[in-house]
C-alpha cells in the first residue's frame, strides 16, 4: 500500500510513451534438459552504462524443471482504473509461472533490480486445489487482481477438465480461484487480453498438454487438432459471449494483442501455421454493432528448402514454414511486430489501417535454413521469438527459443540462448543494433522479456490518448 500511485502507472498509452525509457530488461532463462534450476536474468539496457547489454543480476530458483515461459507484473497502469477507485499499488513483483511444474514464483524487484530476490513461492498443489487448473502461463494485472491463464486442466496430464484463467490477489499473492462463470465452448487456452473500459476480454487457443509437453504431435497438427478459435468474453460478467472459429486449417492462434488505446475496438492475433499451405498469418479482429468480427489481414509464405537442410519433422514438406509464434503491438498501435521463428525473420507491419497491414520493415536473423548471423558476427541459433517493444516504440528486443521440446524438433542442433535488439526508424524500418548482444549462460535458453516500468505487452489503459 502506497501513498501515491506508482510513477510507472500511466493513464493513457500516450503518457506511457512519454515516460522515461527502460533501464533494465528482465528475461526468464530455462534449462531445457532440467539439469539446472530455471532463473531470472536482469539485463542492463541503459545506453552508455559500462554493463550495457550484460546480465547484471540473476535470480536462481530453488527447484529444477519448472520451465519458465511467460511472466508479468503484479500491477500496471490498469491500477489507475477509475472503477477500482484505489490506485495505490506498486509495480514491484514479477509473477513467474513454471509452465511444466505449475509452481509460481513471486520475485521482488525492489529496492533495486540488481538485488531482485524471491519473495514467495506458490507450490503446484495450491494451484491444483484452488483452481482445478494446471500449467500457468500468461499474466495480466486487471480489475480483480492478477489474472493467470493456464494451459491445462486437472489430472496428471492436464486433460481432466478444460484449462482457463484464475485470479490471484495482487498484494498477498493468494490464489483466489477460477475466473470463468460461463466458459461457453472454450476447451483450450493460450493467451488473453482485454479492453478495460469497454469491458471485454479476448482469449486464444494453443493446445492441450499432451499436444505440447513432449513435443509437437505431427499427426495432431496435420489433422487440425490444435487450437483455432478465438473467444470473446464479458470481462466483468466473466462470461463467454462469442466464439469465432478461424477455420480448422489455421492451427494455433497464439498471441492476442488488442489496441492499447481503449477507444479503439480492434486487435490482432497471430496464427502459427496454415496446414493447407504452411503459411503464417495475421488476423485483425474488431467489434462493431455489439458483435466481434475477424478477418485474415496478412499472410507470410513458407520458403522452399532442400530436404537435407531440413529437420526430420519438415523434410516431407520441402519448405520452411514461417511459424508466427509471437506478435507484439507498439504502444501507439501503429506497428505490429511479427516473429517468424521458422524462417528467421522479424517483420514490422504498419497497422495504421488495422485491416490493411503494410510490411514496413524486416530483419533476417537465425532461421532453420537461413541461419543468418547477427551483424556483430555472432551466430544466432533458433529464430526471432518472444518480442518486446520499448514504451517509446524505438527499440525492439527479442529472444530465440520457443519451448524446450519444440526447439529440439525444429532446431535439432540446439539453441544457445541469445537476446538482441533492433532500432526502429522514425517512420518504420528496423535495424539490428550491433552493440546489443546478450550472451546467456551456457545451457540456458531465453524466453519472454519484461522491461522495468512496463512494456507493450504488459500495460493496459483505462483512458484514451488525446
Amino acid at each position: 500500500m502506497t501513498m501515491r500511485p506508482d510513477p510507472t502507472f500511466h493513464a493513457s498509452p500516450k503518457l506511457a510513451m512519454e515516460a522515461p525509457v527502460e533501464n533494465f530488461a528482465y528475461t526468464v532463462l530455462l534449462s531445457p534438459d532440467h539439469s539446472k534450476p530455471d532463473a531470472l536474468a536482469v539485463i542492463d539496457v541503459k545506453r552508455g552504462s559500462p554493463t550495457y547489454s550484460k546480465i547484471v543480476h540473476t535470480v536462481r530458483m530453488p527447484n529444477k524443471g519448472d520451465e519458465f515461459h511467460h511472466f508479468g507484473w503484479n500491477a500496471c497502469s490498469s491500477a489507475l482504473s477509475p472503477l477500482a477507485g484505489h490506485a495505490f499499488l506498486e509495480r514491484r513483483y514479477l509473477i513467474i509461472p513454471g509452465m511444466r511444474s505449475s509452481r509460481i514464483y513471486i520475485v521482488d524487484t525492489k529496492p533495486d533490480p540488481t538485488q531482485a530476490k524471491i519473495h514467495k513461492i506458490i507450490e503446484p498443489e495450491e494451484v491444483f486445489k484452488k483452481t482445478g487448473y494446471s500449467r500457468p502461463h500468461t499474466i495480466h494485472c486487471g480489475p480483480e487482481g492478477i489474472y493467470v491463464s493456464t494451459l491445462g486442466g486437472g489430472g496428471k496430464d492436464g486433460t481432466d477438465g478444460p484449462p482457463g484463467i484464475f485470479i490471484m490477489d495482487c498484494e498477498t499473492f493468494e490464489v483466489l480461484g477460477r475466473w470463468e462463470i460461463d466458459r461457453g465452448p472454450q476447451t483450450k487456452h493460450y493467451d488473453f487480453w482485454w479492453n478495460l473500459p469497454r469491458d471485454y476480454m479476448v482469449s486464444s487457443e494453443w493446445a492441450l498438454p499432451p499436444q505440447f509437453e513432449n513435443g509437437i504431435v505431427p499427426e495432431d497438427l496435420l489433422s487440425n487438432k490444435y487450437g483455432h478459435r478465438l473467444h470473446f468474453w464479458d470481462l466483468r460478467a466473466r462470461r463467454n459471449v462469442q466464439t469465432i472459429d478461424l477455420g480448422a486449417n489455421h492451427q494455433m492462434a497464439l498471441e492476442v494483442r488488442p489496441a492499447h488505446d481503449p477507444i479503439r475496438e480492434h486487435g490482432f492475433v497471430g496464427v502459427v501455421v496454415d496446414t493447407t499451405n504452411l503459411e503464417g498469418s495475421i488476423w485483425t479482429w474488431w467489434r462493431e454493432g455489439g458483435k466481434f468480427h475477424i478477418e485474415k489481414t496478412a499472410t507470410i509464405p513458407p520458403e522452399p528448402a532442400p530436404k537435407d537442410k531440413l529437420p526430420p519433422l519438415l523434410q516431407g514438406f520441402g519448405a520452411v514454414p514461417p511459424l508466427v509464434t509471437d506478435i507484439d503491438l507498439s504502444m501507439d498501435d501503429r506497428f505490429l511486430y511479427v516473429s517468424c521463428w521458422g524462417t528467421g525473420e522479424m517483420r514490422q507491419y504498419d497497422v495504421s489501417d488495422p485491416r490493411k497491414p503494410k510490411l514496413s520493415g524486416s530483419v533476417r536473423i537465425g532461421g532453420i535454413v537461413g541461419r543468418a548471423p547477427h551483424p556483430n558476427g555472432q551466430a544466432f541459433a533458433g529464430g526471432p521469438q518472444m518480442v518486446e517493444i520499448s514504451r517509446d516504440g524505438k527499440r525492439v528486443y527479442w529472444t530465440n527459443s520457443l519451448y524446450s521440446t519444440w526447439d529440439d524438433q525444429f532446431y535439432p542442433q540446439g539453441i544457445p540462448g541469445a537476446e538482441v535488439m533492433a532500432n526502429v526508424g522514425a517512420n518504420g524500418g528496423l535495424e539490428l543494433a550491433r552493440d546489443f548482444w546478450v550472451g546467456l549462460p551456457d545451457g540456458y535458453r531465453a524466453h519472454q522479456i519484461r522491461l522495468d516500468g512496463g512494456d507493450c505487452s504488459t500495460d493496459s489503459f483505462c483512458y484514451p490518448s488525446v
Binding site: 489507475l80 480489475p143 498484494e171 469491458d199 483512458y463 488525446v466
Partner: protein
Amino acid sequence: MSAAGWTLAWLWLAVIASGLYHGINPGMGWPLAVSAGLMQRSSRALVAALGPLAIGHLLAMLLVILPFAMLAALVDWQRPIRIAASLLVIAFGIFRLVDRRHPRALARIPPAQLGLWSFAVAIAHGAALMLVPIYLGLCEAADADRGHAAAGALINANLTMALLVSVVHAGAMIIAGGCLAWLVYRYLGLKFVSRSWFNLDAVWAGSLVLVGAVALVLGVAA
C-alpha cells in the same frame, strides 16, 4: 444569531463541506466522468456521466439516513440514538483503518453501470454514514426551534430534513467532482489523474472517527 442558529449554520456547512470533500476524492467517481468524456470524445458525455454518479450518491445517503429519520421520531430515545449512531460511525472508521486491503469487489461492477457503482462505493466507504451524526444534529436543532411536535409531524419533518440533507450533500459532491472532471478534461490533462491521486484511506477513516467522536461528545453532553 442565537446559539441554536449558529449550531444550525455550522451543521449545514458540515453537510456542504462533506459533499465537497467526497466530490474531489477520485475514489467517489470524478475520473469516471473524465473517462466517459474522453471515450466518447464529447464533453456532453462527461456531463451525462455526472447524472448517474450524483443519483447513486444521493440514494446511498438516503438509504442510510432514512432509518434514522424514522428512529428520530422516538423523542424520548433521542439521546441514546445519537450516541449509538456516533459509536457506529466511529466503529466503521476504525474498521476502515484496520482493513487496508486493495478493494476488489467494486471492480466487478460493469463500467456501464455508473449509478450502481456510485451507490456501492458511497456505501462501502461509509460516505453516507459520515452524514448521520450531522443529520441527527440538524433534526435536533430544528426540533428545538419548533418545540416538541406530535410524532407524525416529527416524522414528516425528519423525512423532509433527510431529503434536504441528502440533496444538498450530493449536490455539493457532484458540483465539486464535476468541476474537477471538467478541469482535467479541458485543461489539466490526464497526467493530473495519477499526480493528484493521494491515498486518502487513513484520512478518510480518520474523518469518520472524528465526526463520530464530535457527535458522541455533543450527544453525551446534551
